[in-house]
Structures are given as C-alpha cells and as structure tokens.
Symmetry: C2
Subunit: 201 residues, 2 copies
C-alpha cells in the first residue's frame, strides 16, 4: 500500500487486515487486540510486527478500506443528468446507509487517535480527501462563486454536519432515538442546507 510489497509478505498483511476488519466490525475498535487478530489468522503474535509497524498501522489499513468502500458507494450513487441538489441529497442518503450498515467500522475511522505528534500517512489522507472532493463537486455547481478552497471548506462543513447527526444517532447518547428517524432527519437537514447554500449569503 505505502510501498511495493513482496507477495508473500503481502499475503499475511492481507489476512491480518481481513481479520482486523472482522474484529472491529464486530467488537469495535477497542475490541481489537494484537493477540486476537494473530490468533484469528493463525500466525504468531510477533508476526504482526513484521507485517505492520504496530497496531495503529494495521488499524489505518482497515480504515483505509472503509474509506475506499464509502468512496465507491458515493461514486456508484451518481446518476447522469441529475441536479446538484439531487446529487448531494443522494450522497447524504448513501452516507447514512453506509454508516448504519458499517457502524463499528465507520466509528473506527473517527475513533482512531494517533499518539501526539504522529499524523496519518499520505496514502491515508489521500483517501479522506477523495471523499470530500466527491461532495465538493456537486457543491461547485451550486456555488460557482466560491473558490476551490472555500468549496472544500463548505463541503467539509456539509459532511461534518451530516456526520454529526448520524454519529449522535448511532451513539444513542443518553436519549434513545428511533433508528428509522435518522434518514428523514438527515434528508431534512440536507435539503435545508442545499436550499440555503444555493442562495446568497
């Protein structure tokens, strides 16, 4: 992923990412243990540290997959000839469905906290940015007056707003919320936002 890899090494890496993905998907990020994944895969504990720098490195690879899958879902949601508003509404809907279907894995993307001073590698950030770009594109049609930087920023705001709503629902923090209300709530939010955004400020 970050460098050219020999197939043998890559094989174990793959299996480890598979196993880690399964673990995180089932037990959440905090349910991922070095001993567990290696046992799942059937290799020695130490082998993990031959294949990856450390646990965080492994997690980053799982998260990268998740980001890729969402990006693919975004790409597949496009319809030719639809309006920018429609595209954004569809993206939001896609996002909500994806987050609901991949609760744990999606949470892991945001839960991973690299230790102080260590930042995500380029090959990872690239994936994140690609997602934002897919939102910024239809937004550009809505707001041709904004600069590329401002579009990126506004796309992130939109993304973050939807994300905030989904996350609050997912976490069901303190107050239970009926799951079937998420989609209409987000739809209302996005509709309001795109309508508002298309108007002048």
């Amino acid at each position: 992923m970050e460098t050219q890899e020999k197939p043998g090494r890559d094989n174990l890496r793959h299996r480890l990412v598979d196993a880690a993905e399964r673990r995180i998907g089932e037990q959440g990020l905090s349910g991922l243990k070095a001993r567990q994944v290696t046992a799942d895969v059937g290799c020695a504990l130490g082998a993990l540290y031959n294949a990856f720098e450390d646990l965080d490195d492994l997690i980053l690879h799982v998260n990268a997959r998740t980001l890729d899958r969402l990006a693919a879902a975004f790409a597949g949601a496009h319809r030719a000839g639809e309006s920018a508003e429609e595209t954004i509404a569809v993206l939001a809907q896609t996002y909500v469905r994806f987050a609901l279907e991949n609760r744990m894995l999606w949470s892991a993307v945001f839960a991973l906290a690299l230790p102080e001073g260590r930042s995500a590698p380029d090959w990872y950030v690239v994936r994140y940015r690609a997602l934002i770009d897919q939102i910024a594109d239809p937004l550009a049609k809505l707001r041709p007056d904004l600069s590329p930087e401002e579009l990126q920023l506004r796309a992130r705001t939109l993304f973050a707003a939807v994300h905030g709503v989904v996350r609050l629902f997912l976490e069901a923090r303190f107050l239970a919320v009926p799951q079937d209300r998420i989609t209409p709530e987000v739809a209302a939010l996005v509709k309001a936002m795109t309508r508002g955004l298309s108007a002048a400020e």
Copy 2:
C-alpha cells in the same frame, strides 16, 4: 448531587471534582488518572472511592458541571424580543464559542463511554435534556406545526449538526482547518437550516 450529602464528605467531593476538571481541561479525558487527582487534592488514593463510586462517577460529575455551564451560557444569550431565527443563530454562536473555549472539557462530555449496560444516571440525563429544550423552544416558534416529540428530535438534529461541524474542526482530523473559519461556517450552516426549517418540507 444525587443524594443528600454531609458537608464533610461533600467538601472532598468538591475538591476532587475541581481537580478532575482541571486535569481534564488540560490533558483531556484520557489524561485523568486516579493517582493524579488524589495527589492534586492531597488525599489518599483510596479516598476517591469513598467519595465516588469509581472514576466514571467522578467524570460524570465533571461533565455535569460542563453541561450546566453551557446551559447557563445559553440562558444568558437570550435577548428579549428577538426573532426565533436570531435566537437560534445566537445559541449556535454561543455553542461554538463555548466549545472552543472548553475544548477538552467539552470533548469529555462526548468521549465518556460508560461500560456496556451501565447508563448515565438521571441527574445527569436531566442536564442534557435541558440543553436540548433550550434549542427546541425557539424552534417551536419556527415550526408550530410540529409535535413536541418532533421538535425535540429536530432540535437534536440541529444540535448534532452544529456539534458535528465543531467537532470536526476541533479534532482537525487529517486536514488542518483555520480556526477562525469555524464561526462563519457554522453561521452559514445554521442560517441555511433555519431558513430551510421554517419552510414546509
């Protein structure tokens, strides 16, 4: 807080909450250690477990304070005779400022994860609900057609959307964002949302 307390016991409790608040404010939730707080206060490690059920219990008391302070800030932001839109805009602004000025403490409110099966006590949930109510109130003027339940829900959506944006900025996840852009971005978001919300769906 949850029950009547003797003043002596209350005194140590107070000092512990003070110290914990300081620690969390400076080092974040994960920077709070039982040994540290008790050392800060100058009591024995074990005393913590006389005063509180456990660390989580202590944290809940710190978070409750934080919620109270935000609620007070909300209450203080009201102006008599302003429109519902204005009130909501002011609340959002207040929220952003509060979150920025209390980064760590505010993050702690959302970072605390009670162990499986243990839910936040009533005296805590009450505070959370009070915040939502302060948002639901002006919203009710904007949308007299919605039932109280739907208003609560919509208020939470609004709250969560703003929260999502602020959190993304605060965490500066992967991509740095100039801090001074938060306020205008949130303002644009809320303006769009209230404008959209006041219209029919």
